[in-house]
Symmetry: C2
Subunit: 403 residues, 2 copies
């Protein structure tokens, strides 16, 4: 892959995925800390929260690379790895020509969210007058600057009646980019930051038994980290609520993606105490007491600890999950974390309803799930379907013709 | 509301919704054209696609308002109406002090997505040298400028091993904002651009019969626009595919949110030919031939017309829908349009599975849906639930204690 990448020059800069792909965002609750995962994060860095004086840059630098050598004017893009027009973020592969033409670097650029301070009018205030000179990069960033200043200039696209559309050139200080640089980047980094094609797969009950289940048994990652939590060996101080019952108990704790503080992004996980329930597919009516206990106990604990009512919560399971020990996601309804789309997530309420109606519902139905092109399970399910397709071609053609 | 708004000054600028609210985005397929709906749109205006020379501003202006009077330095914010940190867009209420202190204006600011042209390195090219002077607002915007130029300056947040985090001050020309101004803004505009609290409501089968159905019968909007389509009186040239059967037929055409061209944002709607099927709640096993026909005919038509395979499509229904004549959404899996979250959308495959297992599934189960605080249906369902809650308090307390 590195070789292939090297053969392209920047004239062939191409987006692998130019749309509002969720592929960078529909990710995984792997418990492994993964360097910088800016591309799968909705967090933004507020300039005011992290005032960084350019004078201090040299002092802050660590490691073998001099931060001063990262000069964007020397960056030569090779390929756009992903471009998310919803989140306004992009990942690029390229070289810093002043550093090395053999080593690759990945640059992730992300537009920052608006902060309240940037939305005040400071035109007449002291802080504005301090900044009224036109020096740019070296300007003082201690006092946050406003969009509503004499440094903002509107360009009219059109005005129709009371509606007007414009483009605005702003004070560059109030409109900075968040930048992540990985250098030198390995093939693994390139794959991690690239948009991968994803497919919707309809996994029948037979597919699960003959393909998915054997795959899981072969490939399942260690759940040691999870058993450490259940047995209080690790992360004990992160537990928000615990029901110790062996049958219907669970541990509720903040998901790794959540800082545990910013209420607007509330995200907790309930890990069930019983072992051996791999996913949705294993659930039967026998698990109804466990599921109801998680729903009621989890929402009650969140109300007590964070003051958020149950009708502000989205309580759901993933299929396929990122690890195969049953766990339930609790997120704030007004927060949009990765993986809440209808092709991936199942409301706990719906699951309970299904099991009440049909005790073996999840052993019988076809479940849709989204898999990446380089997921081994995708290759296996696809191969199995192609065999079935060939065998069924005649009857299937008949079924297609309805009415 | 206007009065209340007037009593605040900009010191009390407050965000109604400071999180990644989907409330501005989880919206509606009303067929009424609605002025500018920038806040619910994921579209971005590329500066290169719409070159606007500042010299032409005066020529372009229309209507009674001079575009030159929209000077952001004179804008006095009163309140943040909504702030979406995922989409990096914000709506503000305020006054242009130079225009009027009685009339309100709404300003929507949105960060733009990265374009391919901005991601090329033009440092050594001719276009860069043309722009090397430090004049800002009046600069020539014809040739698109790059992030990778001597005008970009990195400020180090931290560097740890091969990973570095930075903030970047860029050439303001490559990092413009999209701006929408509504002036003068009425109360209706203020409500439209405001983030409204939304609640997850669990609608039982009884709730549907006793509250939702009577509400729909009272409040249903005219479906005349839809019958015009079904009977070929309007939008005939927009039809992508039609099955004329009275029982299992449907018309497939682009959703109003889609331009019909940008494949990455593909969004079509199938409107069923039979009248009187209001929503998911009306579906029974008797509708299986209709549902299967839509699934197979719709995906086949999309493959033929747009070359997109069925495993790249998300095919689903909304509950509650925005209009009560059964319709099915077809969107590109890698596109994230509004309303695809698990609390709102139901995959057609799942619906078919449910009806095959339980013929009257949708007349029996509790369905979750998200309603806005000022939705009349929300008030009615809430009131009904409070009555039930009082009646059931004793048994409910018992049920809560599981195990």
């Amino acid at each position: 892959m590195l070789e292939a990448a090297k053969q392209q020059d920047f004239d062939s800069v191409k987006t692998n995925n130019n749309s509002n792909s969720s592929s960078n965002h529909d990710e995984s609750h792997h418990r492994h800390h993964q360097g910088q995962s800016a591309s799968s994060s909705a967090e933004t860095v507020s300039p005011s929260a992290n005032p960084s004086s350019p004078v201090k840059v040299e002092v802050l630098e660590e490691g073998s690379t001099k931060s001063s050598s990262y000069d964007l004017a020397h960056f030569e893009p090779v390929r756009i790895l992903s471009n998310n027009s919803t989140h306004k973020s992009v990942s690029l592969l390229g070289h810093f020509a002043n550093l090395s033409r053999d080593d690759f670097s990945i640059i992730v650029l992300e537009k920052t969210a608006f902060t309240e301070a940037q939305l005040r009018n400071t035109t007449s205030s002291e802080s504005e007058s301090k900044h009224s000179s036109t020096t740019t990069a070296e300007a003082d960033t201690e006092a946050e600057r406003s969009i509503f200043s004499t440094k903002s200039h509107l360009r009219t696209e059109f005005i129709n009646d009371i509606y007007g559309n414009f483009l605005c050139v702003t004070d560059p200080e109030v409109n900075q980019l968040k930048v992540t640089i990985v250098y030198p980047a390995t093939e693994k980094h390139i794959s991690k930051y690239s948009a991968h094609a994803r497919y919707l797969v309809e996994e029948t009950a037979d597919d699960y038994q003959s393909v998915t289940l054997p795959h899981l048994e072969q490939e399942q990652l260690s759940l040691e980290w999870l058993y450490n939590i259940l047995e209080h060996r690790k992360e004990k101080d992160r537990i928000v609520y615990e029901d110790p019952s062996d049958k219907v108990g669970f541990i509720l704790l903040p998901d790794l993606k959540w800082d545990g503080k910013t209420l607007e992004q509330l995200y907790l996980l309930a890990l069930v105490r019983p072992k051996g329930i791999k996913s949705l597919r294993d659930l039967t009516a026998a698990h109804l007491p466990l599921l109801r206990n998680i729903k009621e106990g989890g929402t009650k604990a969140i109300k007590e600890r964070y003051g958020i009512d149950s009708d502000h919560l989205r309580v759901y399971l993933h299929y396929q999950p990122s690890f195969y020990h049953l766990h339930v996601h609790f997120t704030y309804l007004k927060h949009d974390p990765p993986g809440i789309h209808c092709e991936k997530s199942h409301l706990l309420t719906t699951i309970i309803e299904n099991l009440e109606l049909v005790p073996d519902y999840y052993q019988r139905v076809t479940l849709s799930c989204v898999l990446g092109e380089n997921d081994k399970l995708y290759a296996k399910l696809k191969a199995a379907k192609e065999v079935n397709q060939d065998a069924e071609d005649q009857p299937k053609a008949k079924r297609t013709k309805i009415e």
